[in-house]
């Protein structure tokens, strides 16, 4: 093994100037988890959906902001981002699908099911997006 000591390569110093994509995505994930706990805490009664819909909307807005901010970042290792996010999305679609199946099996219907489904969708998008970003931010962008 050879350990060399060299200055930061071109592009690496840009890491610190990236927009707060991870922070926004973590915030989105936290809001959707709070919404899920709020609904679960009221079982078997149906909770007032207002707070849950508010949390879901705020969570979706944070994720959309993170996506918009990341889309404007140049240069960025998009190939790595999509590779990591794609595989993570596959895993989380399976997990979210299992949870959706449990909800339906437990007799959840109507508006409550719709809110829970949308929460699962946001959650299943948050994590792959965050994983992809967390890896790609440290990778060298492919030259165009």
């Amino acid at each position: 093994m050879t350990a060399t000591h060299s200055p930061e390569p071109a592009g690496r110093s840009d890491v610190d100037r990236l927009p707060p994509v991870a922070e926004l995505t973590i915030g989105s994930m936290a809001l959707v988890i709070v919404g899920g706990i709020y609904l679960a805490a009221h079982l078997p009664r149906r909770a007032d959906l207002g707070p849950a819909i508010g949390l879901l909307s705020a969570s979706g807005a944070l994720l959309a902001t993170a996506v918009a901010l990341l889309a404007r970042v140049r240069p960025f290792a998009r190939q790595v981002f999509f590779r990591v996010a794609g595989w993570a999305l596959l895993a989380y679609v399976v997990i979210a699908g299992m949870l959706e199946y449990v909800f339906v099996l437990d007799g959840t219907r109507g508006e409550l099911l719709a809110v829970l489904t949308l929460m699962l969708v946001v959650f299943a998008l948050d994590i792959p997006f965050l994983f992809g970003f967390s890896v790609a931010r440290y990778q060298e962008p492919r030259p165009t």
């Binding site: 000591h5 899920g36 679960a40 805490a41 994983f131 890896v135 440290y138």
Partner: protein, 204 residues
């Protein structure tokens, strides 16, 4: 013998050793059959709703999750912090892929079996006398999920991809490994809070 070159931000001149380069697999394929078997057992436990099986997956998974988190956060983490950069890279390339399979499996087992167990025993019903404690445990698990999925796993993945580069950045790996160890310690400490709640629920 392949050579590995590790960049560090500052320090003495390059040091050459004969350690072979070991390119880590992001996901260790040999471990996947074990994970599939464990998840299969979990699905069977949930589908059959057997109390013993649910209790086993919940208690065994939770105990291991807590133990691993505390061990990594408070024993392995400080040791990694004192290792040289090449030693840290060498350790990480063997340790992190295993954690990438182990931790999600333990988390899925603990939470899925725990939810089904709570349904089975009626703990999640708002009419349950100690429902407040159950909601408190959900809140603790929610915080743990945010810490684990928002900080711990991204650090784990970033280290693995950094290690696959021709010239891994030792300083970056060190920073990410410290984040991994700290967040593992935080989730371990939160696990202790969960243990307090669970033992209280089991004895009241």
């Amino acid at each position: 013998m392949a050579q590995m070159t590790v960049r560090t931000a500052a320090g003495p001149p390059p040091i050459a050793t004969d350690t072979a380069r070991r390119l880590p697999q992001v996901v260790p394929l040999r471990g996947i059959p074990v994970v599939v078997a464990v998840i299969g057992g979990l699905v069977a436990a949930i589908a059959t709703n057997r109390l013993w099986a649910l209790d086993f997956f919940h208690v065994a998974g939770g105990g291991l999750w807590t133990g691993v988190d505390l061990f990594v956060g408070f024993v392995v983490g400080p040791i990694i912090g004192r290792l040289s950069v090449p030693a840290r890279v060498e350790f990480s390339s063997r340790f992190m892929p295993a954690m990438l399979l182990l931790m999600p499996t333990l988390v899925i087992c603990t939470l899925a079996a725990g939810w089904q167990l709570a349904r089975h025993e009626g703990f999640i019903l708002s009419s349950y006398p100690h429902h407040g404690w159950v909601v408190a445990s959900m809140a603790v698990v929610g915080v743990m999920a945010v810490v684990a999925l928002g900080f711990l796993e991204p650090a784990n993945l970033a280290v693995l991809f950094e290690l696959r580069k021709p010239e891994p950045d030792g300083a970056l790996i060190g920073r990410l490994m410290r984040r991994f160890a700290y967040t593992a310690g935080i989730t371990g400490a939160l696990q202790v809070a969960t243990l307090v709640i669970m033992t209280r629920l089991a004895t009241t």
